[in-house]
């Protein structure tokens, strides 16, 4: 196990570097640079101003020199400086990452747990009205665009009903501490986390349902039934355990993808996370910030994949790990 994990980590470093180089060129291929964007927002600039900015950002250097400087820093975990935000990128991301991890973490756990429960429930009585309702809802959540759900959620629960705050991370200026602060953040978390979770919940539900039905037709389940085991035991020990494997594979892949969904959710709900940071950085061509966020999220995806593989073994000891 240790060897497997070490082997994967070494591979991950090379993958990360390759991703960085690729992203670097991709970003620089887009038209416009941070100096022009900053000058553009000011609505006026002379040639000296632009040249000063570019020199300060290091944009006057040849591209390969810029790449080299960036990679040298990145290897030592130095992600460079955001000239736009006047802060080191690592600090910027460090400030924002906890908010994103909280949002995506809660959304992920919520969607996985509820998705699997709904999937099991639906499969247990295939074709019943309960199954129909769950499946229809899942299809609806799956097909509805995230931003629409987000806006509607804000409209209904925040504007009309006034139950939940429609944006932000905590009540600004309230000065809550301790438990009151936790509750305040939790309240703010409800809408964005459930919006983000809905789509993924739908996927896990459909996957669990299909997988449960498939496994339930296999021979060893028939044997178990023939032995006269209780229905609930068969469901839990025989079917669910096997049916979960594909769901976990998918969940592992989507733990990375959920970051992508977070960009939209964070923007709509003004959640101060790295998804929004990246979205703004792309618009502003804030190269170091874009690369930094890519770097961190790529690392997260690699980490999640690794965790998925380990969880696999725990659930099904027959699976062998090779790096």
């Amino acid at each position: 196990m240790t060897r497997f994990i070490l082997g994967r980590l070494v591979k991950a470093v090379f993958i990360l570097l390759a991703i960085l180089v690729f992203n670097f060129f991709l970003i620089h291929a887009a038209p416009g640079d941070p100096a022009a964007v900053m000058a553009g927002e000011a609505g006026a600039a002379d040639a000296k101003f632009l040249a000063d900015l570019r020199a300060r950002f290091g944009l006057d250097q040849p591209l390969y020199v810029q790449l080299w400087i960036y990679l040298k820093g990145a290897v030592q975990m130095d992600l460079g400086y955001s000239f736009r935000q006047q802060m080191p990128v690592a600090e910027l991301i460090g400030d924002r990452l906890p908010a994103t991890l909280l949002l995506t973490g809660v959304a992920f756990v919520l969607s996985l747990v509820l998705g699997v429960i709904a999937g099991v429930a639906a499969s247990a009585r295939q074709g019943s009205w309960g199954d129909t309702i769950i499946s229809t809802l899942a299809l609806l959540f799956y097909a509805t665009p995230l931003f629409w759900v987000a806006l509607m959620a804000a409209l209904v629960f925040s504007v009309w009903l006034g139950w939940l705050p429609g944006f932000g991370y905590s009540t600004i200026g309230a000065g809550y501490t301790g438990m009151a602060h936790v509750m305040d953040v939790a309240k703010h978390l409800v809408l964005p986390a459930s919006t983000l979770g809905l789509f993924f919940m739908a996927i896990y539900m459909r996957m669990t349902r299909a997988s449960m039905l498939e496994v339930s037709r296999l021979d060893f389940v028939k044997t178990a039934r023939a032995k006269g085991l209780k229905r609930s035991v068969i469901q839990r020990r025989h079917i669910l355990r096997n049916a979960l494997l594909p769901v976990i594979t998918l969940a592992g892949l989507q733990a990375g993808q959920i970051f992508g969904g977070a960009i939209l959710t964070e923007t709509v709900f003004a959640w101060p996370g790295i998804g929004r940071l990246m979205f703004e950085a792309i618009n502003q061509r804030d190269y170091n910030v874009i690369l930094g966020v890519f770097y961190i999220s790529a690392a997260m995806v690699l980490l999640f994949n690794l965790i998925t593989d380990v969880v696999y073994v725990i659930i099904d000891p027959r699976i062998r790990l090779t790096a």
């Binding site: 964007v37 632009l50 736009r84």
Partner: protein
């Protein structure tokens, strides 16, 4: 018993204060103002960064020598009085007594000289151009500053607002590298509000400057600027009562009527007179067939600007009559006719060199309104028989395409800064047409006679002479149609009616909250 008496006294005081306070004119101290800000500013050191959101927050922290009312008439700020010599060459400012920076250090004429002569000359590109007219800055005593000009520069009295000439503490910046000075993160000015806290991605918090030099001001205790990236969510923030002020452009135009009709909601399009935002389409006259004046005139008459105003801009703003905004000094209203007239446009097009080419229109990537506007123009051109296509771009790509002159028609809007010599001439001067910038003479308008007139008019001492000169310039430019002028944009500020005076100068919310107060229900 004692308690009862106290209570009665309080009730009496309330009864007396009540009717007075209910009137608009009696400011009440206290309260928190919640304002939307978008996008999040890159920094708050206004001497280094001058984009819109920075000005909005920093305009409360930093001040300049003067303020400007809605007619652009100067009034005292850090200068309590000023004198302009007869020949227009000497400007003498007398500073307010007893002004201190937020760190307690006194503000003196040395700070003025340092700000203008050293700091802004180094870091502020617009100011740098204006300062080419300044011969010397003298400080005979702590409260007097004398600007000596090389030649009379008419617009000079109009540059002393915080976005152009902010007063920067000499004791903090002298001898340092301005751009990397640590103090940039904790801005210090003389303004009515002090910087307290900036939680990136969430909010910026300013608190009342207790030591402010104007008796009783400011009235507000604190201001929160909320960073909310999504336009629809900004409307929600107002609707749920989380914010009280939506500065111009905070929400999509199509939401304005809905929000405006809410209870206890006021709206004003005042507070933009200094900027005079004028929108137009750049015409790339390097490209055929746009080098033909008849084609440009045809486009000018084909574009239905009344429609754009009513359908896209909620009837706010005005149809432009030429290169100068009506709130800018020396605006001439009686320029040649450029009104909507598709029949005339067809005739002009028939007489032109237009040969069925496809015109590439570059929209402005600032949200739905601008996208729809580009589509409407495409439709207008189709109606007179011109082919057009829209080219997509994001903000950075738009900058690049304009700088590279990679378009045929391109939407934009620019500020005029109150005077044709400050914000208008840059668009039309022949030697200001080098590619590489999206704000110079992008359409490459070349008319040496007009150039000469611009240069003379800026250096006239007498306002009457300038008025006549600018009238001639406007007539000539309008008949040459180097750009397709669209609208004087009306950016509405939406606010709760119990917020009084959110907009009190020509710069609107950018330096507005000194006099703002909240009426308690």
């Amino acid at each position: 018993m004692l308690r009862k008496i106290k209570f009665a006294a309080a009730a009496l005081a309330l009864a007396l204060a009540g009717p007075l306070a209910a009137q608009d004119g009696t400011p009440q101290a206290g309260g928190t103002l919640n304002v939307v800000i978008q996008p999040e500013p890159p920094g708050l050191m206004i001497g280094l960064i001058q984009n819109g959101p920075t000005q909005m927050v920093a305009g409360e922290i930093y001040e300049s020598l003067l303020r400007y009312d809605h007619e652009l008439t100067p009034s005292p700020q850090l200068a309590k009085s000023w004198e302009i010599s007869e020949d227009g060459l000497t400007y003498t400012f007398t500073l307010q007594d007893g002004v201190t920076f937020h760190d307690g250090e006194p503000f003196t004429s040395a700070d003025v000289k340092f700000s203008v002569d050293v700091f802004l000359r180094e870091s502020h590109s617009r100011m740098r151009t204006y300062l080419t007219h300044v011969e010397s800055i003298e400080t005979p005593d702590d409260l007097t500053v004398v600007f000596k000009l090389k030649q009379p520069f008419g617009p000079f009295i109009g540059i002393f607002e915080p976005g152009t000439a902010p007063m920067i503490p000499k004791h903090i910046y002298e001898g340092t590298d301005f751009a990397s000075n640590e103090a940039n993160n904790t801005p210090i000015g003389t303004g009515p509000f002090k910087f307290d806290k900036w939680e990136k991605g969430s909010f910026i918090h300013l608190v009342k400057n207790e030591a402010y030099y104007m008796e009783g001001k400011p009235y507000l205790d604190e201001i929160y600027y909320h960073v909310i990236p999504d336009a629809a969510s900004r409307a929600v923030a107002y609707e749920t009562g989380k914010v009280d002020v939506l500065p111009g452009g905070s929400i999509e135009n199509f939401e304005v009527p809905r929000v405006r009709d809410m209870e206890n909601t006021c709206i004003t399009d005042k507070g933009w007179e200094f900027f005079g935002p004028l929108s137009w389409m750049w015409v790339n006259s390097n490209n055929k067939p746009l080098d033909d004046v008849n084609v440009r005139k045809a486009i000018m008459h084909a574009v239905d600007r009344e429609f754009a105003k009513s359908a896209l801009w909620n009837d706010l703003g005005k149809v432009a009559t030429g290169p100068v905004s009506s709130s800018t000094r020396f605006y001439a209203s009686d320029t040649p006719d450029i009104s909507y007239n598709p029949e005339e446009a067809k005739k002009l097009l028939a007489d032109s060199s237009y040969d069925g080419e496809t015109i590439r229109i570059l929209g402005l990537p600032y949200g739905e309104t601008w996208t729809r506007w580009a589509e409407a123009v495409k439709q207008n051109l189709a109606e007179i028989g011109m082919n057009a296509e829209l080219i997509p771009a994001d903000v950075a790509g738009w900058n690049q395409k304009i700088s590279d002159r990679d378009f045929d028609l391109a939407f934009t809007y620019l500020y005029q800064y109150g005077d044709p010599a400050l914000g208008v001439s840059r668009t039309y001067l022949g030697d200001n047409a080098e590619p590489g910038s999206p704000w110079n003479n992008v359409s490459n308008y070349q008319n040496p006679e007009v150039d000469a007139m611009w240069n003379e008019a800026a250096l006239m001492a007498n306002p009457e002479d300038r008025k006549a000169a600018y009238k001639k310039i406007q007539d000539q430019i309008v008949s040459d149609v180097p750009n397709i002028w669209l609208l004087e944009l009306g950016f509405p500020t939406i606010y709760r009616c119990n917020v009084k005076n959110p907009v009190s100068t020509a710069l609107g919310v950018n330096d507005g909250f000194r006099d703002t107060w909240i009426a308690k229900e």
